[in-house]
Each structure stands twice: as C-alpha cells, then as structure tokens.
Subunit: 452 residues, 2 copies
C-alpha cells in the first residue's frame, strides 16, 4: 500500500504549518511541498524593518529554510510554481512540466497585493512589499540613490504596510509622501482614531495626502518611475512603494473549480476543508475565514492566522479533530513613537453587522502621569447597547499603548461586558499604568453610561 | 432636618474615592474627612520612584490636595488623627480632643507596614516606605551621606517594595543588599519564576541574601542604624529600608468592636459594608476582601482596589447599588530591565484552594526574535486539570513582558480555558510580539497537553 500523499502548494506560514503538523501527528503521511520562490517560512511582516535596517539580514526573516524542513522529513520543491490543479485527477501541474499526484491537497497560495490598473504601475522603481525579493529590491534601490540631493519616496496606501514602509523609508533618510484614496490612514479605525494616526504621521514630517486618487505613476526617460500623479497634484519620487492592501491569492483554486467565497478567498469550513471538494484544504492568506463575533465571512491576511489555520488543517488531515475559531481582526502596528491597535468591530463594521451599539473614547496616559515616559493614549470601545457586551476596541498612543489591545481582544473573545472588564483586576504600578489602566477606565465610562 | 453626615477616616485612595463618589451622587450628604497627615489622595506606589529621582517632586505624587477636595464640596480636616470610635453613639474622637458625630462612617485607615520585633528597628536611619514623609526622609538621608566613600543600603524584604527600593537606591548610587527571610524574592511567584527575579537582581550587582533571619539592626555611637545582623552574617548600612509587606491597619476598628476578618482586615461584604455594623463601611488597604476565583477572604494592599472599593462604598452610601467584584491578586513591578507580573493563583495558592491543577512554563521573546529589543520572557500558567480553566499566570522578562499579565488576568476574569486563550486573536507585528504572543504560546502548550 502506498503512503497517503499530502501535497502542499505554498511554502510559507499556512503551508508549512500544515505540512509540519500533519507529519508530526502521522509520519506515515508523505508530505510534498511546492514553493514557487526560494524561501520557506519567512516573515513578510518583517520586510519593512529589514528595509529600515532594523533587521540585520534577509536570513533573519527566514524562520525555517527548505533544508531545515527537509531534515524534518518533508519533501520541499522550491522554484516550483504550481500552474494548474486537476481536482478530478487529483493532480497538480507545475510550470516546469512536472506533475504531482495527491491524496489530499492543501492550498496555501497566500495573499495577492492589491494592484489597481494604474498607468505606469509596472515600471521599474515601483515596488511591492510581499516577498523577500521585494525587500531586497527596495534595499538595492535605496542604496543606489545619489546622496547629494534629497531622496524621495511615495508610498501608495495608508494601511499597515503603508505606515510601516513610510516609517522605515524615513528612517533611511528619504523624504516620504503617503498618498491614499481614503479620507484617513488606517481604514479599520474609526475616523476620530485615524485622525490621531494622521496627525502623528504629519508631525513626523511625512506628507499625508488623503482622498487622493492616483491617476498615473510617472516615468522618466529611462523608463523608471519618477513620480506619482493624482487628480490634484504630482509628487516626485525616486521610488514608489505599494501598500494598497492584500487580497486572497485564489486564482489557482478558482481556475481549478474550487469553491470561492464572497471575500474572494477559498471557501473553507472551520476545519479548513474546502466546502466543495472534501480532499482539498486551504490555509493562510488565500482563504476566506469568519469573524469570531458575527460568524460572517472575513478575509484577514496575517501570519498568526495562517499558522493557526495551517495547524488546524494539518491536524484534520492527519485525523485529529481541530477547528479554527475565527478572527476578531486584531491588528497592531506603529509609526514612529505612535502605537496603534484595533480588535473586533469598528463603528462601520458594527453598523454593517446590525448591532445596536455605542462608542466611547477616553484619553489617559500609558504610565502614571508622574512617571518618566508617560505618554498619551486614547482608547475607544464599541459596545452593544443594553447588554454592554464588548464588540470592538481601538487604541492609539505612545509606547505601551498598542499591546493593550490584547486585553480588549481577550475580553471580547471571552464575551465579557464593559462592566466586567471595568471590574477586572488589571495590573498597576507607576512604570506600567495609571492606578486604573486606560482600558479599564474606558470600560468604566461605558458601564456608567449604560447604567444611566 | 439636618443633613445626613458621612464621616470618613483616612484621606487617601479608599477614603477620598468614597467621599467623592457619595458627594457626586447625592450632594445633600455632608461629607467630612479626617486625615491624620497633611496629604490627601497621594500615590504611595510612587514613593520609590521619587526616592530614585525619577519623579521630580513630592507634589507630583499628590493626585488631589485637601484644598482641591474642599473646592469640590468636601470638608477635609488634615492633621486630625481619629483616636476612638464609639459605634453606639456614632461618634469619633480625635487625638486633639474634638469629636465628630456621624450617620454613616467610612473607615479607610489604610495599611500597616509589617514591623517584626527586631532590636534596633526603631533607630534613626531605619525607614518605612508608607507615607510621603517616609520618602522625604529617605531622600534627606541619601542627600546627607558622604560622597567620598561607598554608600550602602540594606533593604529588608524581597516583595514589591523591597525590589523597587533596591532598584532606586542603586540608581542613586548606593550599594544595595536585599535581605529576606524567604528562600526567594517575590513570594507570590512560584519558585522557578522567583529564581529568575533573583538572578536578575544579582546580575544588577545587588546582594540578595535569602533564607536570612534578621536578628538585629545595629546602631552606631550616634544611635543611628549602621548595619543589619542576621543569623549568619552582618551587613553594613548607611540606611535600612523596610519592605516587609503591608497588613491591614484595623486597630481603630478592632478597638471599637467592629468585626475583623481572618486576614486581620475589617470584615465587610461586597458592598463594603461592615458585616457587624450596618452604618459602617470600609475601603482600601484596611479591609478584608475576597478572591474573585475562589471567594476566599483575601487582603491585598493596592491603590487600584482601594479606589474601586471606595467608589463602591460611596455609591452604596448614597443609595446606588454597587458591589466590589473581588481581586485576582494581579500585580506588576520591575527591577532594572526585568518586568514581573502575576495574577490569580500561584502553585501554593492553587494547592491551598484544593484545585487539581497543572503548571506549564514557556520561554519566548517579547518581540519577533529578529526585531531590535526582543528580550526573553517566561510565562507560567496554572490551569485546572480536566477543564483547562485558567487559574493563574506569572510572567518574568524584558521590556513588554510585565503588562502581558493583563491578558491573563482578563482571561481568568472571563473564566476562559487555556484552549480558548490559545485560539483567541491576540495582536501580532514584529515590534510587539512573535507571530504567536508568548501568552498564547503558553496557553497552547497547556491545551495540547490537556488533550493528551
């Protein structure tokens, strides 16, 4: 009897977690991984910090090399791009002409950076921030710039990647303009919180150009990008960086006839199994997942989820029950000294989900006001009217602000009310918080108001 | 008809919160506060940092002065020490001979620093860390020390105050020996976690002398403390600082005949009302409270609880229902760059409470391993066997470690299991955590082990 073969397409977080987990539980499973690039298990989230020289080398961003995976018993084919899947024949064709049969298929094709149809977007000098090669290309481009004049970068998009790239490009000495179509950066924050982020960016000396529709990337005589044109203005640029968000990369799955969800991600159940093909699983940025609070379909591209989903898929494939419990959309980032966190539903999402809710914002300090390094922090809560159940939280503030979103994420996950959170026993000492932690203060404001 | 009079004994966190809250809800109540010292609403927790010159002035530690309270409509008598309470006559006698009648009495007499009967403990040069005057006295003592020879301090006790004082005395340039009766500092941590703290202190150059019974404070010809003797050794000292813990200051209540609990604190119910005298309330470090998880009596001296309890008492006194929800014993501190947090039950407490439990420890990093400033962090969880319910958590590690205890406190408060915490959506970005936050990693280890 031949071994059961699990074929994995994609060698990053989702794919390798699944591969490793399945193999760990049942080493009689033959695990074969196809990865189009040359890296496995790398941290795309770390690319901005490598560009910013905060991370020493490309190797630092690779958690486990193909060779390390092989030593653990996995077969890994790098430089092997899966071109087509025949779901009936259970066979994958690679671009190099090889074919791979499978008993079980796991798709971990990752995310696809949003690239709107803008003239000039494919010109040299326009960079994505998706794979390690992108990071290397941006680094080279910076290194090659002349030092005898101001160097300029335009970042398109004001989400996480946009903010992070703006920060590190400035760290590298470039003048930075951030151009975004939305009225404010960080679209998953409410406007009042997004304004705080916008102010922080401007106070760092970045140009932040909102409500700006990009009409073209301008190119010079050498064909390289040299600027960005919007409806209203033109921005010079030595390099243009795309931070326009990330959708699911599900083209291979879709072409094969696999069910695709409303978010564009591969349609899987909580065991990460395709809803249309029972011997196909998917994990990571390519899947449609669901919101833990609402049960609604969601797409969130994040290594943490990819890892968990891969582990779930690997367990189920190897015969051990497991479920992915959904996402709250928790996220954290920073720009300069300003930390930003969000979790659960923002106002727009709470409206869309049909909740009767209230919002409250408090301003406090990250440490006791008299302790050195106490910084401003704003905490915004979205709570269900009547029940007081926590639905969402947002924080913007100085050092120590961002990770406070985890308290809110935990409280939301545990279906706690604002009153319960306000009563809970959060830690206090002057170097760490005011007598009441700012998240508890916010919860208390809600519960007082709810009590009328 | 005369106004209802609320008499408050003690003008710090518990007393002033109660006073302010009762007055806010019902300004027909006449609120009279007796405070033996000259400050109200001060941060005792900030004293170490004032001694360490991290806080600029004594005034910074006063959240609200007597005058500010008066402007808000409270009558505040400072320098007025309550000497006796006649519970039948509803009358308090002050040391200066005045008497104050009350309709409702609120006792907020605070904590009493532990002072074992050791020879020489009352000598000049031995300092508590309880009131702002203590901080001023330590500052003066340091300022008066000669600069032409090593200056030495001995700290008695290895709890929070002991650690914090050791840190700041070292910051001020003194050689520091910490002498403690226990086998390890931070007795509310398990031994394996306490060892990490001990190692951190020693690597800072502090002497840490454990299992050491102090037999005498030695005094010089001038009568001032000049050293500490234990069973085994003698330590020179220019100043001796007491950090031996804090019990409830309930002598006034006890002498009056008010019910006292097994912890030595005033016996109150969850509305902060005396169980023996219905027109008497108490709040803050002087009360016996209860553990949120076990319901067992507890005494925890902490400004956060004092504030909350005062607010509850003030509400109830003014006719608005309120309850104090109990404590988890959450605490946080730091020594040098090492942050320490704990919440819920440690091993000893879980045993005492009769739980069938397991413990797990994981070691991780505070940020992505490749990101600058990533530091070691150890997370220990205590969970109920079988159910997997979280009972307690401890963290020791570098910057960013300590406040992670709030995630554990929130999860415990919400009665979550380790599996639920492991599935929850905690934030991730390289400057803030590894792909899985260390607390989620710890929870996952538990839930995997529980699953067998």
């Amino acid at each position: 009897m031949s071994r059961h073969r699990l074929l994995v397409i994609g060698g990053d977080a989702g794919g390798m977690s699944a591969a490793a987990q399945a193999h760990r539980i049942d080493d009689s499973i033959e695990v074969v991984v196809l990865e189009q690039g040359h890296d496995t298990s790398f941290s795309a989230c770390g690319i901005p910090y490598w560009v910013g020289d905060l991370v020493g080398s490309r190797d630092d961003l690779v958690a486990r090399t193909p060779e390390e995976h092989r030593r653990r018993g996995l077969t890994v084919h790098t430089g092997t791009r899966a071109e087509a899947v025949d779901l009936d024949a259970c066979r994958v064709s690679a671009a190099d002409g090889r074919t791979f049969d499978y008993d079980t298929l796991l798709l971990a094709t990752g995310g696809r950076p949003t690239r709107p149809p803008i003239e000039g977007l494919d010109a040299p000098g326009v960079f994505g921030v998706h794979r390690l090669d992108d990071g290397a290309a941006i680094r080279s481009a910076i290194d090659e710039l002349p030092r005898d004049r101001p160097r300029k970068a335009v970042v398109l998009g004001g989400g996480y990647i946009g903010l992070e790239m703006a920060e590190v490009l400035q760290l590298r000495g470039l003048d930075v303009d951030v151009v975004l179509a939305d009225p404010l950066p960080m679209g998953l924050l409410d406007a009042d919180m997004g304004e705080r982020v916008c102010d922080a960016m401007r106070s760092m000396g970045m140009g932040v150009h909102t409500d700006a529709r990009v009409t073209a990337v301008l190119t010079g005589a050498d064909g390289r990008a040299c600027g960005v044109r919007t409806d209203d203005a033109t921005f010079d640029a030595d390099l243009v960086v795309l931070g326009l968000g990330m959708g699911p990369e599900a083209r291979l799955a879709e072409a094969a006839g696999l069910g695709i969800g409303v978010t564009g991600g591969i349609d899987v159940d909580a065991t990460m199994r395709s809803r249309t093909h029972e011997n196909v699983f998917a994990a990571g940025d390519c899947v449609q997942t669901y919101h833990h609070l609402t049960g609604e379909p969601a797409h969130v591209a994040l290594g943490t989820h990819a890892n968990k989903q891969g582990r779930v898929a690997g367990s189920v494939i190897a015969g051990r029950p497991a479920r992915f419990a959904g996402v709250l959309g928790t996220a954290i980032t920073k720009v300069g000294d300003t930390e930003i966190g969000r979790t659960g539903l923002c106002t727009t999402q709470a409206e869309q989900a049909g909740f009767d809710f209230r919002t409250d914002v408090v301003e406090a300090t990250t440490r006791a006001g008299y302790y050195p390094g106490a910084e401003d922090i704003a905490v915004k809560l979205v709570t269900e009217a009547g029940s007081g159940r926590l639905l969402g939280g947002q924080v913007v503030g100085g050092q120590g602000a961002g990770k406070r979103v985890d308290v809110l994420a935990t409280a939301i996950w545990g279906r706690m009310t604002a009153e319960e959170l306000s009563e809970s026993d959060l830690s206090y000492a002057p170097p760490f918080s005011p007598t009441y932690d700012p998240v508890a203060v916010a919860a208390r404001v809600v519960s007082r108001a709810e009590r009328g």
